[in-house]
Amino acid sequence: MNNFNPKKIALTKYLFYTGKGGVGKTSTACATAVTLADSGKKVLLISTDPASNLQDVFNADLNNKGVIINEVPNLTVVNLDPIQAAAEYRESVIAPYRGLLPEAALSNMEEQLSGSCTVEIAAFNEFSHFITDEKAQKEYDYILFDTAPTGHTLRMLQLPSAWSNFISENTHGASCLGQLSGLESKKGVYKRAVNTLADSKLTTLILVSRPEEAPLKEAERASKELADIGINNQTMVINGVLTSYDDSISESLYQKQQKALTEMPQGLKGITAYMIPLRAYNITGVDNVRALLAKDNCIVSDGKITARTILKLKDVIDDLYLSNKKVIFTMGKGGVGKTTIAAAIALGLSAKGKKVHLTTTDPAAHLKFVLAESSGISMSRIDEHAELEKYKEEVLSRARETLSAGDIAYVEEDLRSPCTQEIAVFRAFAEIVDKADEEVVVIDTAPTGHTLLLLDSTQSYNNEIKRSQGDIPESAKKLLPRLRNPDETEVIIVTLAEATPVYEAMRLEEDLQRASIAAKWWVINSSMYQTGTTNRLLSAKASNEVEWINKVDSHTNGKFAVIPWSPDEIKGDKLKKLII
């Protein structure tokens, strides 16, 4: 496998980075952007991740219009924050009516325009604007998209076709999309966006992965789903490859990576792959971004751990048990190991005699891969597609009781709207949390961006529940009050001892606080620090963790646990080691 060098590869104008959370999409996209810009090209880099960390990488305040990076004058960076885009959109709708309509009417509009549907539509509008903008096309040699975690991205990329079909096939007007007046006029923009994405002379999809089993599987899934919607020009970047070893820890990491690469999923084998070696440093600051594709600097930092005692996951489980928590979430950036920790917590509480249900909303998670079904823990997965079909059938069967065939066709048209999926998932989520009456529910959530949207929709739906006359499931009514009750619900924030996952975890915590949801414990996963490695690269990496472990310690007031990096896949009996 050759090293990834954008200067030596024929690149298209538009480059799309996708992959499981935590694989290094942002680092890879930034390094490509800086490398190309340094070689004299004009480059535009755009993030569409609701939990973007480009501002940490470039150490700059970013916006949705574009900011030129001082140290890289040929590079302009745009951060599309969907929440902010939605706020701007909302304001553009409401502002003309200030003074013309009473305050009650304005706040009614505002509330309606705060749902996740609006957030998604507003974000997508901006996103397709950049793909189709002729000015940007003339001004820049390369336009790079650092996308949100895979699940969200796929939905976003599928929207153009889903939406343009919806708009053109919907005979009674784009009813569900009515809140976006003038959407019909966007149809041309969406169509051009899809055409650009599918044109192999214009767009390359770069599947980013780590040399590990789960992200490679996710890359295969993304590759196939994107090919299905016409994006066939694909290439792969394997990030974080260890190229040599000299002690037992580095050897087991090396072997684990090589095994994952040898057993690469069938669907990826025809795709050209490049690699980026594992680096000891965090990819923040322009110097490190520049170095990523060029060189390593194994500088061992001499920081000391400030915490007097470092707790284990067992201590967290004891606390959850003693405080009798009923709903437990694991949250954090993608790729930090939320599924493993959720499974370990479920196992730990089950071992103490609790009845436990473990669930995931992450499309990429494989609970059964981690925990055997015979473990005595019931398991489920919120599958977006399946939930959508279930919800559609429920609505239609009710409609069939009272409506004629022609009217049912009308309802069916509305059910094709993209909003329907959001509702279906929300209801499934509420049903699972409702199980907490009977048993402890441990929820491994999807990567941050998606989770945030989910919680946001929980809030806006809760407002809607208050005034809707419809038949609302009990579970939906109980959801938000339960999530806000700190005696019942606890969020475990999972992170790695690295800059980006820690910053992102802090932002996640702020979002949770805004939603009045308690988070007490942090868990630092896969820490090299406690492994005692003597390998030059890995020990430098371990020493760089100290700063972040200390930061978490002071931030949480010692309420954190550390799980050492393990050479093995953490599943089955290995999972038990985490709870003793």
Binding site: V93, I94, P96, Y97, L100, L101, P102, A104, A105, N108, M109, E111, Q112, L113, G115, C117, H172, S175, C176, L177, G178, Q179, L180, S181, V395, R398, A399, R400, E401, T402, L403, S404, A405, G406, D407, I408, Y410, V411, D414, L415, S417, C419, T420, I423, F426, R427, Y461, E464, I465, R467, S468, Q469, G470, D471, I472, P473, A476
Partner: protein, 131 residues
């Protein structure tokens, strides 16, 4: 023919399918209006989030929401006069206010048809050729 408009609170979609549950009342109104339209009778629906300008243009509606707020929506306007507030017209009211036969409001509910079917099932035939 009389002109009818319905002014509704801010909603995502007229059928209510986007809400956290399906509101059968919204479903009924959507399908009734759809049937009326097929019969050449157009009843306009304005919801606050997608057509705020209509709430400015119509003076009586504007006065209404200024005085009563949005909780009394929907209101039904017939020839510029508010005729029903706080709820949607019933099917009978639609027929009466618009002066149209009730057949314009859509087909008979399917449940009735099903009852007929189950009766005919008594004939004893089976398979695809069943009456």
């Amino acid at each position: 023919m009389k002109g009818m408009q319905i002014y509704e609170p801010a909603m995502c979609c007229p059928t209510g399918l986007c809400g956290v549950s399906v509101d059968p009342e919204l479903l009924r109104v959507s399908t009734v209006l759809d049937s009326l339209k097929k019969n050449g009778i157009e009843v306009q629906r304005f919801n606050l989030s997608s057509s705020p300008q209509e709430f400015v243009n119509n003076k009586s509606v504007n006065k209404f929401i200024t005085e009563k707020g949005v909780d009394e929506l929907p209101v039904t306007v017939l020839d510029d006069e508010i005729v029903i507030t706080g709820r949607y017209p019933t099917n009978e009211e639609f027929a009466k206010l618009l002066n149209v036969p009730s057949s314009f409001l859509g087909e008979q509910p399917k449940t009735l048809k099903l009852k007929v079917k189950s009766k005919s099932g008594d004939c004893g035939c089976s398979g695809d050729n069943c009456c």
